[in-house]
Amino acid sequence: MDVVIQIIASGLTLGAMYAVATVGLSLVYGSLNMLNMAHGALLTLGGYMCYAAITHLGFHPVLGLAAAALVCALAGLAIYVFATLPLLRAENFETNIFIATIGIGAVIESLMLKSFGPYPIPQPLAVSGSVVIGNVHIPLQNIMILLTALVAMTAVALLLQKTRAGRAIRATSMSRDAAQLMGVRVGQIYAQVLALSGGLAAISGVMISSIATLTPVMGGDPMLKAFIICIVAGLGNVYGAVLAAIVLGLLEAATQYVLGVRWSFATLLLLVILVLIWRPYGLFGRQQVVRL
């Protein structure tokens, strides 16, 4: 029983972090058909910015998180202005932006390496202590991560479902042409989505670095997992991505316990292959067919 509680607790924490990382990626793919390979670097940037704001500028931890989110939102906006916008005018956008964002990611990671050095740094945004359920100690840090993710996801859901801007984002991701014919200025939507995705990446980066540590390459692993989650859920399906993130987080925690840490990533990949054989468009993905 204790083992089960332990697995659920750490699985939910992992899932929550993955969910926040994945939603941004999924939103961007859904509305722009853009695989943002710089997403992992934005995560890293967020982690370091929070650290720098708290340690060097003396910000309150909550403000540090907000500052990190703001910086990454601006970075997302910069990606839109300097990479997405020019490439959208040319052909083969999807391939070009894929390569371009790999480059942008490398630049951001190198900047972090140059500014903060290669050695792991602990994330100052951390709470100590734990709660005890049964015989299991669950760190307050995990609970804080879960709550932060919950707040972030609720905010995104409300934005998408209840606001005019959110409705325009959903409309654009369902049909860009139709959204334009409704008077939606799609350029603006793209900019908003990339900024939002950057902000979410920062939150996720801060959470991940608070239980691991800050390193310039810390974004790679969560980004890879976020991609896997996106594909399992069906690319561009935001709500599916949240669900898939939580399930995969729980699965990862379970495999780590049952088979050992080294098997967790292999199991994840195996699962993806199986899912894609069974449903090529992902669990919640749908090939969009227009009936006439």
């Binding site: 409705r167 139709a178 334009q180 014919l181 409704m182 008077g183 939606v184 227009v290």
Partner: protein
């Protein structure tokens, strides 16, 4: 003819490397039902996409009541009051009918006029009211067409452009759709209608324009078209 609402002068446009409209000249009158007919693949849909700004004009001029449209973005064209209901509806499949209709009124900020238009759309198309919470992806062809037209009406535009509203529908449903279109025209809305199926509109349209290979080959009234069986036969195969 009534005063012109929409005017095209020598418009050329097309897709990467292929010119579809090759110098189209055209006038649609205010408060009239203007029909564009012609065989498949001769630029009817491209004409509407060019007017709405989705396809860029490479040469020529488009103006709405004297104001240039061809330099505007699609969202600005909508703001000018030109509403394009595209072929195959292009509804937002994951949204409910209600949400689709609300997207139609995206540029209208005053809640009062949105509510008023919604009421009008529901009166005109009562089926949409019954199914307002149904997701658009699950609708039948006729319901989707109605939702597409209703969504267009929600914008409260001055010129409604409809791309083949009868496409793929059963004859009885086509009749219902056209009844709605003719009602709108009698209520004073300017309508630009693209249709392959010329007979349906011959006696109702104020003017008919035949689009052939990216140019207008013939313009006249429905009765005049019926008096020219050779045109009907050559272009429309009827």
């Amino acid at each position: 003819m009534a005063e012109p609402i929409l005017q095209l002068k020598g418009v050329k446009s097309g897709y990467a490397g292929r010119l579809v409209l090759q110098g189209a000249d055209f006038v649609a009158g205010k408060g009239e039902l203007t029909a564009v007919i012609g065989p498949n693949g001769h630029g009817k849909s491209t004409l509407l996409k060019t007017i709405s700004g989705i396809v860029r004009v490479s040469e020529g001029e488009i103006s709405l009541k004297g104001k240039r449209l061809d330099t505007l973005r699609p969202d600005q064209v909508v703001a000018e009051g030109v509403i394009h209901v595209p072929q195959g509806d292009l509804l937002f499949p994951g949204m409910t009918i209600y949400e689709n209709l609300m997207m139609g009124a995206y540029l209208t900020r005053e809640a009062g006029s949105v509510a008023e238009r919604l009421e009008r759309v529901f009166t005109l198309l009562p089926k949409l009211k019954d199914r307002r919470n149904q997701v658009a992806g699950t609708l039948s062809g006729g319901e989707r067409r109605m939702c597409g037209i209703g969504r267009g009406l929600m914008a409260g535009g001055e010129l409604l452009m409809l791309d083949e509203p009868s496409l793929g529908l059963a004859p009885i449903v086509i009749d219902q759709i056209y009844e709605v279109i003719f009602d709108l025209r009698h209520a004073g809305l300017s309508i630009l209608l693209v249709e392959e199926n010329a007979e349906r509109i011959m006696d109702q349209a104020d003017s008919i324009h035949l689009l052939d290979n990216g140019r207008f080959a013939w313009t006249g009234k429905g009765a005049e078209l019926m008096a020219r069986p050779e045109i009907v036969e050559a272009y429309l195969g009827a």
